[in-house]
């Protein structure tokens, strides 16, 4: 499955989060959540173990509620494909602090590596056509580091980045999967007490 010219997903996510500051990170169902966990647990991480297709919308809700904080959605091509309409919803709302990053291995890695539609479908073109003008494909770690710096600018989004990654299945790094714990911890980090 490995192709020499494709990026390693763990390196990509580690680079995206290395200088995250106050950013909130939402991880889509599947390997994206493992990648975020591998980069280090954080009170401002919201891990998903289900709700396929919902990652971008969860990110939009946070972004609209916290317009001064960078909000990152890091998800996979399969999860993104199930919620393509949410790109149109983001394109209409245009939250300036939201960045959507798709780790695109053109396959459903969690279920055995079946082919996904991104072998044909161009997610960057879809995102741009939905009204997310700053939609790019990133191919090198230098480009990813530059994008990570741009994500901190909460006055110029929304942005979308598609990153073709190596389809190799890496060892799972399991994040916490207790939703109430993760949510309460995130809200606490933002200054909201339990009800």
């Amino acid at each position: 499955m490995s192709k020499a010219n494709l990026l390693n997903r763990r390196q990509v996510v580690a680079s995206l989060l290395a200088s995250r500051g106050d950013a909130i990170a939402v991880g889509g169902l599947g390997a994206s959540t493992y990648d975020i966990a591998a980069a280090g647990d954080h009170a401002r991480n919201l891990y998903l173990w289900g709700a396929m297709g919902g990652a971008v919308m969860i990110g939009l809700g946070v972004a609209l509620a916290q317009p001064k904080l960078p909000v990152l959605v890091i998800t996979g091509d399969g999860e993104m494909l199930m919620g393509l309409g949410s790109l149109a919803t983001v394109g209409l709302q245009k939250p300036k602090n939201l960045s959507i990053i798709v780790l695109d291995n053109e396959s459903y890695g969690e279920t055995g590596g079946q082919m996904s539609h991104t072998a044909a479908a161009d997610l960057v073109g879809i995102a741009r056509a939905c009204g997310i003008a700053d939609s790019v494909a990133l191919a090198t770690l230098d480009e990813i580091a530059a994008f990570a710096a741009r994500m901190q600018d909460v006055s110029a989004g929304p942005r979308f980045a598609n990153i073709k990654i190596d389809a190799a299945n890496l060892e799972r790094v399991l994040s916490n999967r207790d939703g109430m714990f993760v949510l309460t911890r995130l809200r606490g980090a933002l200054g909201f007490p339990p009800i």
Partner: protein, 180 residues
């Protein structure tokens, strides 16, 4: 095509009752898939600076959005039609996993003199589907009970984090009239 059989096409009072309660509970994000029965409320939301009306492409987007809103410290309410409830089923898992304040207001089709048979299957199963998904269901059928039902729904959803749906019955909204 959007005419209704009774006087509720003119500015009805019950959407104003709903709007007032949403304001009092400091609801900030209002995702919606348009429905004629919600049109007056949607107009009020879009004209209110403290609220953000968010048009969706499909209803389950709104369930996920409300989780994000709460994670960021804001309350929301999802406006949809009964046909949209079926679209939400898997995403409603979020209400059990995260126990966040979930409130949806569902305008009913497929009951009370429905003309369009295509609305009947989902309209008939709407309440059952919601209850199987762990959502408490309240219903308002008459204009003079909307305020009381909304008060109860908003209180249990926002104060007790009990996921709640209010079904606004077709009898309340008025049956959609199809004209050639």
């Amino acid at each position: 095509m959007h005419a209704r059989a009774d006087a509720s096409t003119d500015a009805a009072s019950w959407p104003e009752d709903i709007f007032a309660i949403l304001q009092r509970f400091e609801v900030r994000q209002v995702p919606y898939v348009p429905d004629a029965g919600h049109s007056q409320l949607i107009e009020r939301v879009l004209g209110e600076p403290s609220m953000r009306g968010i048009a969706l492409t499909t209803e389950e987007e709104g369930v996920a959005l409300l989780l994000g809103a709460w994670a960021g410290g804001q309350r929301g309410v999802l406006l949809m039609q009964s046909s949209g409830v079926g679209n939400c089923i898997n995403m409603l898992s979020l209400t059990q996993i995260f126990r966040f304040p979930f409130l949806t207001l569902v305008t009913m089709r497929g009951e009370w003199g429905e003309f369009n048979p295509w609305q009947v299957p989902m309209g008939t199963s709407t309440q059952g589907v919601l209850e199987l998904a762990g959502i408490r269901v309240l219903r308002a059928s008459h204009p003079d009970e909307v305020r009381e039902v909304m008060e109860a729904a908003a209180s249990q959803a926002y104060d007790a984090c009990t996921p709640t749906a209010v079904l606004l019955s077709q009898r309340l909204i008025g049956t959609k009239v199809f004209v050639k």
